[in-house]
Subunit: 664 residues, 2 copies
């Protein structure tokens, strides 16, 4: 392979860094870094707006490695262009415990380091990229070209495009016509199983065109052709997909273009053969100074733009600048808590309590003027979830709308929200029924793993939805979400708790929250001082202490079942049994409280959990003698009241369970 | 609307049954039954092979209502054509508790009644239909046209086609060229939010063509046009999509063609207006005798075919007939358990234990000759999961292969398996990494809800996968699956338990099983009599009783952590602490055991759970004094051994935890 092109050695630098790191690690995925070396070189040397000395520059282009198994491509680029967190020593520790060069790219929990999002599960990355492009378009509409005007680029493999979430992304991005979004497809015709013809026959480029994308088909190893295609992408008002015909693992004589090119184990011998094939005389991890310099220069290509941007920022009127910085830092504006406190106070005088999900909708609508950075995605359930209200739609022709009609596409909705949060400057909400949480769960897991402040809002949270039947009645989903590390699951009992939980959720910056609301009305159960502290902040608390005598029974409940527990308590108290009601709106917060507090809340007496869901997970609070009133299996189709009776989730059943345990 | 067409009144019969039932129920979704009445009439009167007097006829065409919210369409058809479970009384009880006419169609847990699959969560139904078509093609290849030769038809709305799983289905069905599969698309340009233009711009018909489908675009209210298109679908070797231009809620003056056509509440006034508009003089739930007769005749259209099929079946050589009936009944062949017993015995003499997932692969490969009805779908992980082995690929040109290369499409893989199981005659396996279980979870939930005997096989089940990092390391997924009703979750500890669990899983006919295997090697930990009973059948059992004295400590573990518990026990016993190891390969089975057995297994002493996963759910077994050694959050990228040490999941940590609890 003659190095005809002046940039070719830069691409080879990626290749050999990757080969050397993978050989040293003993495993890795050479397919992507070797196949996409020229594409990445063209992008980083001629098109990308970035500054390695300021990885968190708000107006940088965003780069996503959606085919995250090819992580050495990204690590090589970050090292070569001079990102401080990626010195050669880290490259040499690829896949070792504690190295920043992990098996798959992991977004840092600390300051930005050049890795924009954690990728690995296929399809997530390009859906994140969609979210970034939506965030950019929205912020651009608000703050103008001078402050926000950047592109989103995503490397993508066949797997991402086969995944349903990837297909949802193609459809939605085409619909929204996000012209600053470009996918760089590694069209290498090989997956882990072998030729792509094992599992796909369609013309992928054509599929993009049908969805309204601009498509360029190029030789992925022709640096100039790729660069011209990148020019075309930048010029086109549509989202662009560059179908780059590539040879997987290119440069490795034994495996290139074959199934083994993907991730077959590489040995020193392979590295030597590659050096011979490509005329690369340098030793492992060695890079001649002129190539180092050339890559460092590429890393400085946007310095003037960066400087000019900083100057524009500095020249802004102070209030304007402060607002932009507030939004981009993800800080909340003055006065937001007052809105919520006001809501709590008014809740006491509401005549008829609204549907649970409408409480959330009301709260959000009140906050809308204060929080223009809040964007809402919803999966074709605008009316029943009601989180649009005063918002306009974000569309191809109106980028100032904050409500994205996602269509019946929950998965990309969730992953898009992750991309918005990772981009910054947006407080993303993702809204659907709780029964469909499973559809976006892979994205929720990524939010939890990355610690992204996404608000996943769910309505229709139990058999309380009634006649639509068991497909639409979550019974296990609360438990499945509580099982997820770093995911707060909040299920408010009434308007006061709804406001409290939203206050906590908005203030929570290092992880996602699932806010779960009933479809049915939630009567007020909190009658304490409306100026009191946010009691939900401890995750669980004694809402009503035993009154008729010392506490003998503790009823633990969440959401719509708190009212039911309150009713059962009334009966037990009338019977002379001292009974407390504990509300547990957020288990994760409760688990963080000191042991003494938790024991005091849970009490020494008989404990009965009440939730219109399965018992799984409840035993942690119920103890050895605990009882539970809830679901034992899936739901049924019928009116909500009839279902609560059918499944024995009633005040009477709670009373009976408490009596049974007291008698033991 | 003049009733120019002789079949038009039959379509109106569907409309008014649906309107009357929805008005009576006070809620429902009129959009589909009114919009698709002519399409359904054309299908059922001229094309469908079915016999209402034998709803379980193995060679019937399969009909799926993928847009399940339009359930009254299906109930109307089942009633009108004479399915015994759908008398008019049940139609009148639409959405009432206990009615077979539930909010969404629910596949019966008892004998077939005409509802093939439970639908509601969008996209699942068409993916089920794909599985049914694969099952038909495979069984047709084995048993021939005389026994298996039927079609699969699915009603489908916009939502199903927006969902990622729907897009995966389009791509895979086009690739596999399932010519007997036909989708009937309700192209009404309205979703719950309003016009489809809110969320989609692409030419859906063209998207199908790109994927290799035959597409017909027709007026969905023109009975002859639809019928001709159905003829074309039957004649074409490709899967067919009929894009039927429809008016949502057609016939209801107030809402037809509009957003409210989907599911706005209908009143008596609406019913009257529809009667006036369509010239329908009959009262609520009234159908003139000649229309009743016409629909009943439609229900008898395949009687001759049914009879001829029964005759062909009866004429088969006895052994051939018995084998066909065995397969279609889902019964296992003679000798299958001997294969598994043999495997258990040989496991004792294995020199080096293989990877956990390879145990499952070996077992399945041994069973392959006995169980030709076993089909395996795998999401582009053939090599690392190894469940292909002696199987050939199922392809467009070879229908006798039992292995479906699903591509990187976990969701349709799972839903396809559900369709195969619902079809009958197939024992479906669905294979991927446990980290990707979330991608197919919505399908797994449907399997659990329907009670379908699908085997969901997972490998790479913990941090034991090592360097690929936290995206690929499940820590919460065991808990999330255990939280699901009617889902067995099995995590075998070694070769013996692997064979035992597979024995139980294959015998389990009324629900799905998740079989979860480690990537790393599983050394033999069971050394008891290989001829002993299947000890995993009780879900949990004392694998090693305390030996040095009375039991003071019980170590409870699953899968790869059982060996770790055994090692900790050795230490504790050497220290004079009587310690038992309890293996809990299947919590669901253990929970079904008598209380006395469970208490005996769990013991009175100190209990320590050990699992390389989160604690969520474990408290049910650990009791108030219980300890746990496992994960507290997400994993990390590094060698497996280093990760077990990093997260403190070691024999030493187990010993220390037991000592800490003993000292309390």
């Amino acid at each position: 392979m003659p190095d005809a092109h002046p940039l070719q050695p830069l691409a080879h630098a990626i290749r050999f860094l990757s080969i050397d790191a993978i050989v040293k690690a003993g495993e890795g995925h050479q397919g992507v870094p070797l196949g996409m070396a020229e594409i990445a070189t063209a992008l980083y040397t001629r098109h990308l707006k970035f500054n390695p000395t300021d990885p968190g520059w708000w107006d940088r282009d965003r780069v996503v490695l959606s085919n995250g198994h090819g992580s050495m491509l990204l690590y090589s680029l970050l090292h070569l262009t001079g990102y401080p967190d990626f010195p050669i020593g880290e490259i040499q520790r690829f896949r070792e415990l504690g190295s920043v060069c992990e098996g798959h790219p992991e977004r840092p929990h600390g300051p930005p380091n050049g890795i924009e999002v954690t990728t690995g599960p296929l399809g997530q990355g390009i859906a994140n990229a969609l979210g970034m492009a939506v965030a950019e378009a929205y912020l651009n509409a608000r703050f103008g070209d001078g402050l926000v005007n950047h592109r989103t680029w995503a490397f993508v493999g066949d797997g991402c495009l086969q995944e349903g979430v990837g297909q949802e992304m193609i459809s939605l991005a085409g619909h929204l016509q996000l012209g600053k979004l470009t996918l760089l497809w590694d069209d290498n015709r090989i997956t882990d199983d072998g030729p792509t013809s094992l599992s796909i026959s369609e013309d992928v480029a054509q599929r993009f065109r049908v969805a309204g994308w601009h498509v360029e088909e190029v030789d992925g190893h022709d640096l100039d052709a790729v660069s011209r295609a990148l020019d075309a992408a930048r010029a086109d008002p549509r989202p662009s997909m560059l179908a780059c015909r590539c040879v997987i693992g290119k440069g490795l004589p034994r495996v290139q273009g074959q199934r083994g090119g993907h991730s077959a184990r590489l040995y020193e011998q392979d590295a030597q053969e590659a050096r011979a094939l490509l005329g690369w005389p340098h030793g492992p991890f060695e890079l001649p100074a002129e190539l180092q310099r050339a890559w460092r220069e590429a890393g400085q290509r946007s310095q003037a733009e960066h400087r000019a941007w900083l100057e524009r920022l500095a020249a802004l009127p102070p209030a304007e600048r402060a607002e932009f910085e507030r939004v981009m830092r993800g800080e909340l504006p003055a006065g937001w808590q007052q809105v919520l406190h006001g809501y709590r106070q008014r809740a006491r005088s509401e005549a008829a309590p609204p549907s649970g999900i409408f409480l959330s909708a009301e709260i959000n609508d009140l906050l809308a003027p204060l929080l223009p950075e809040r964007m809402v995605g919803c999966a074709d359930l605008e009316a029943p979830t009601s989180h649009k209200r005063s918002l306009r739609a974000f569309t191809a022709s109106d980028r100032s709308g904050a409500y994205v009609h996602c269509g019946v596409r929950e998965h990309v909705m969730g992953a898009m929200a992750n991309g918005m949060a990772a981009h910054g400057g947006i407080v993303p909400l993702s809204v659907t029924y709780l029964a469909f949480a499973d559809y976006e769960r892979p994205a929720m897991r990524m939010a939890a793993l990355m610690g992204l402040p996404v608000k996943f809002v769910f309505s229709h949270d139990s058999i309380g939805i009634g006649k639509n039947g068991p497909t639409h009645q979550p019974v296990e989903i609360l438990a499945s979400l509580r099982a997820m590390p770093n995911m707060w699951v909040m299920r408010p009992a009434d308007a006061v708790e709804a406001a409290e939980c939203w206050e906590l959720a908005l203030a929570h910056r290092d992880g996602p929250v699932s806010l779960v609301f009933a479809r049915q009305a939630l009567p007020l159960v909190r009658h304490d001082d409306p100026d009191a502290d946010n009691r939900s902040a401890r995750g669980g608390y004694v809402m009503h202490e035993a009154a008729c005598g010392p506490r003998r029974v503790t009823l633990l409940a969440t959401g719509s079942e708190v009212a039911l527990a309150v009713s059962a308590r009334d009966t037990l108290e009338r019977m002379g049994v001292g009974t407390a009601v504990v509300s547990l709106p957020c288990w994760e917060l409760f688990d963080q409280q000191p042991e003494a507090y938790r024991q005091q809340v849970l009490g020494d007496g008989v404990r009965v959990g009440v939730e219109a869901a399965g018992r799984f997970g409840w035993d942690a609070y119920l103890g050895a003698r605990g009882g539970f009133v809830g679901m034992k299996g899936f739901g049924a189709s019928g009116p909500a009241d009839a279902l609560y009776k059918l499944f024995g989730i009633t005040p009477e059943a709670v009373v009976a369970e408490a009596q049974r345990l007291l008698a033991r």
